[in-house]
């Protein structure tokens, strides 16, 4: 790093440690693992709007890092986005696009359109050429009606009536393909999305815990966190607490833990 810079520092990412990290990697010191949301996320259109669903497990390699994380992120009052892939990337990306949409709303004075969010997301993901690992299901209702989009990590998008993403997407898509119909009622749509996410939870190791739902209509958003909890820890059948006096005491010593000082008594004035 030169001692004398001639341009003032700008913000953004810093790659100062990349060379050091490569060198450490070559010498055998592996970087800590990334928390991913090996996930099932899905969404489907119904007669009056759309329903988004997600599971709540975040994994770090083979370990469950978070048993109840939130994968449905706020983008705008009329739009929510489910994120699969690297958890930090999903959080930061949706947060940034949410701020961009707010600035855009202040600039235009109108409700944000879903295509605006989709375009911002796809342009950003394409710019970083897939290094930002997030696969998103974006759903919202605007002047053009309810719309559902998927955005893949490299920046490709699809506009579809029902979508699934994540490691449990195949299980969820099987449910959708057999039961989705055009112009469903709300209860049917919520039941369908719940079943699709449950298929992912029970058949995919990367998904688990609870089902979160988000119903978006032109009148507003109904975010049901923990809509279904099929994996609650049951109460144990017996109590395994030991009664006091259950272990035999062989020796006891307290003098080595107590510091005996000579001096005056405590002054409590």
């Amino acid at each position: 790093m030169p001692i004398n810079e001639v341009k003032p520092a700008t913000g953004g990412f810093s790659f100062d440690n990349y060379a050091r990290n490569t060198m450490l990697n070559d010498k055998g010191f592996k970087a800590p693992g990334v928390i991913k949301t090996g996930t099932t996320i899905c969404g489907c259109l119904w007669k009056g709007g759309l329903v988004l669903g997600a599971d709540t497990r975040a994994t770090e390699g083979p370990i469950v890092a978070d048993k109840n994380c939130e994968k449905i992120h706020y983008l705008a009052p009329n739009m929510y986005c489910c994120g699969a892939g690297t958890a930090a990337d999903c959080d930061a990306t949706t947060g940034l696009i949410s701020s961009k949409l707010e600035l855009h709303r202040l600039h235009t004075g109108r409700q944000s359109r879903v295509v605006t969010a989709m375009t911002m997301l796809e342009q950003m993901l394409f710019k970083y050429q897939g290094h930002i690992g997030c696969a998103l299901v974006l759903g919202g209702v605007d002047i053009n009606g309810p719309q559902l989009y998927t955005i893949a990590p490299h920046g490709s998008t699809d506009k579809l009536p029902y979508v699934t993403m994540g490691s449990g997407s195949l299980a969820a898509m099987a449910i959708f393909e057999s039961r989705w119909k055009k112009d469903m009622e709300l209860e049917d749509a919520m039941e369908l999305v719940k079943d699709a996410i449950s298929a992912g939870i029970f058949n995919d190791l990367g998904s688990g815990s609870n089902v979160d739902l988000c119903v978006i209509t032109k009148d507003g958003v109904d975010y049901r966190r923990g809509y279904d909890r099929p994996n609650e820890r049951v109460q144990k059948e017996r109590s395994y607490k030991l009664k006091p006096g259950a272990s035999t005491v062989l020796t006891s010593s307290f003098r080595k833990y107590v510091e005996v000082l000579d001096g005056d008594a405590m002054d409590t004035s």
Binding site: M1, P2, I3, N4, E5, V6, K7, P8, A9, T10, G11, G12, F13, S14, F15, Y18, A19, T22, M23, L96, S99, K100, L103, H104, L106, H107, F126, K127, Y128, Q129, H131
Partner: protein, 147 residues
Amino acid sequence: MSYDGSLRLIPAIQPSRATVAVVGRDTEYGVHDSMREGIRSVASEVIARHPVENIESQWKQTQEQLRMTMHRQTFGLHAPLRLQMEKALVNQVRRVPVGPVRNFGLDILENRDASIEYEDFLGDPQWSTNTIDPHVAMEHALGLGHI
């Protein structure tokens, strides 16, 4: 910056070996200046850069190229010339590049007034540990003291 009529969407993927920066900033024959730039380590110059670093450093330039080329082909030569003229007018104010340098006109022209980017909340320059010597910075800005 020269516009060469390129329609590139994203910056070119650099070869994995970074180019060795031989030209010093303040020397006559392009030799590395240890006093100003610290001890030279050839290993650190040859090691591969992260692909995202390459994308970030060339992004604005590549987008400008694309935009100017498309404007020229769609509207004629006058369109990119006018846009570049506006940019040159806005960049005329020459301040000493120490501390937070803000150019509101440039922000508007580059559409940063209605947008938020990673530069706005990551890596706050207030906490950067690089100190800028205003004399060296001014020399560089005025084009004195280097090749």
